[in-house]
């Protein structure tokens, strides 16, 4: 099989459209994962036993089953009980929920790593609970969370091709459509790899910059 630049030129516009969809899904799923993760983290640290236990049960179940199975569930099983989701919505919920469980651990670790003495000093300064969180705990807990959260966003980005299994036309979905139509896999799949590599490298560099900035702030 010989590389055809002609074919590359023909499919690139649609693949770029797919790349835009991929990035969009990653961004929306990231916001979903960061919010869902926060919800799980708070639940896992709740003083109410029942809330804490159910949160652990739910997050462990999600974490210990494959994302692909969860996506099939959301897209192909839920319609049986009357819940029909578009591929995009099902994909975003799936990614957000799956990664939200990982993200919740990052939050939890970040908060737990703030020493007890900081909470006590805040109380001795007679701060309110809200002020303790906003002025003392979160400013110390958030900077160390940034690198692992960034890595999860990149991991999520690399995981989006799996959404083609529920007919999302992301970069992978577009490439597969072209390949199946023309029986040429070399160019579309190579372009998919290049696209992912390019965006991954850019975001990794961005996170490295942010990390260095935070380190300089802390020093």
């Amino acid at each position: 099989m010989i590389w055809s630049w002609e074919f590359v030129a023909e499919i690139t516009p649609d693949l770029l459209k797919g790349l835009v969809v991929t990035v969009k899904i990653t961004l929306i799923s990231s916001v979903a994962a960061l919010s869902i993760g926060l919800f799980f983290a708070i639940a896992k640290m709740s003083s109410v036993d029942l809330v804490r236990r159910s949160a652990v049960l739910v997050t462990e179940t999600i974490r210990r089953t494959p994302l692909l199975v969860q996506l099939y569930f959301l897209f192909y099983v839920l319609p049986d009980i009357g819940i029909v989701l578009s591929p995009m919505i099902a994909g975003t919920i799936g990614l957000g929920l799956h990664y939200g469980t990982y993200v919740s651990e990052v939050y939890r670790a970040g908060i737990i790593n703030v020493p007890a003495g900081q909470w006590e000093a805040a109380r001795a300064c007679n701060l309110t609970t809200r002020q303790t969180w906003t002025e003392i705990v979160l400013p110390q807990a958030i900077p160390p969370m940034i690198p692992p959260l960034g890595n999860y966003v990149i991991a999520m980005f690399k995981e989006t091709p799996i959404l083609s299994a529920i007919t999302v036309l992301d970069l992978m979905g577009e490439a597969l459509a072209k390949a199946n139509f023309s029986y040429r896999y070399l160019e579309p799949i190579t372009l998919v790899a290049v696209g992912f590599l390019f965006v991954s490298l850019c975001s990794a560099a961005l996170i490295r910059l942010l990390e260095n900035y935070l380190k300089r702030q802390a020093a």
Partner: protein
Amino acid sequence: MGLHVASRAPDCQPIIEFRNVEKSYGSLKVLEQLSFSVKAGEHLALIGPSGSGKTTILRILMTLESVTAGDVIVNGVCLNHEQRGGKQVPSSEAHLRRMRGAFGMVFQHFNLFPHKTALQNVALAPVLTGSLSKAAAKERALQMLENVGLADKAHEYPSRLSGGQKQRVAIARALALQPKILLLDEITSALDPELVEEVLNVITNLRNETDMTMLLVTHEMGFAKDFSDRVLFFERGKIVEEGPPSEIFLSPHHERTKSFLRKIIAAGHRL
């Protein structure tokens, strides 16, 4: 003309009173049927072996711990209960915040806020509790830092201060809300020996120049002797012996006090 009317509470009125206080963690009893009181303006030293409950007393007063049974009365008001609808109920957070205003606390490990400068550490509480405007809080914080000899370090972050300097900032922070009662929890235990004196000098000045009530938990027996009006010797959550420092340190009655002091002196501490 009312000039002869005493403006301060009579000396018989205690500022702090522990009534049959118990504290336990599970099956571990830390304080047992503990009763004692502190007069306004008194300088009290709490000594005794590790785990005897001294620190727990300070932590209960700062509302970092709750009591298992008994009552703690501060300025005539119960700390661990409040009256609501004619009933006694456990203290709400609002009640605890009102009560906390009477106290300042200095911790063994300083517990400065690492993401704030020395000045911000000191000015934080007055601004956030709304007791001072930003400008006034900054002015007072600078004054406080000057009092502890650290005016030139106002804009440094804690990571760039020595242990002794950190602890002096922490003292300034504890004083920023102008507490009536200052709680000092082993404030020199985490310091290198050569840094202890600078911190103790600050406390001595506070002792001599203010009328604050001060509770000191310490293993520095020499300092406890010079600092205190009264010493309480604790063991296993109970007061074994109490009295003026001259008596406790020079002619203790109780065998346990004697053996504790012997051990402390053998460990190289001066009296």
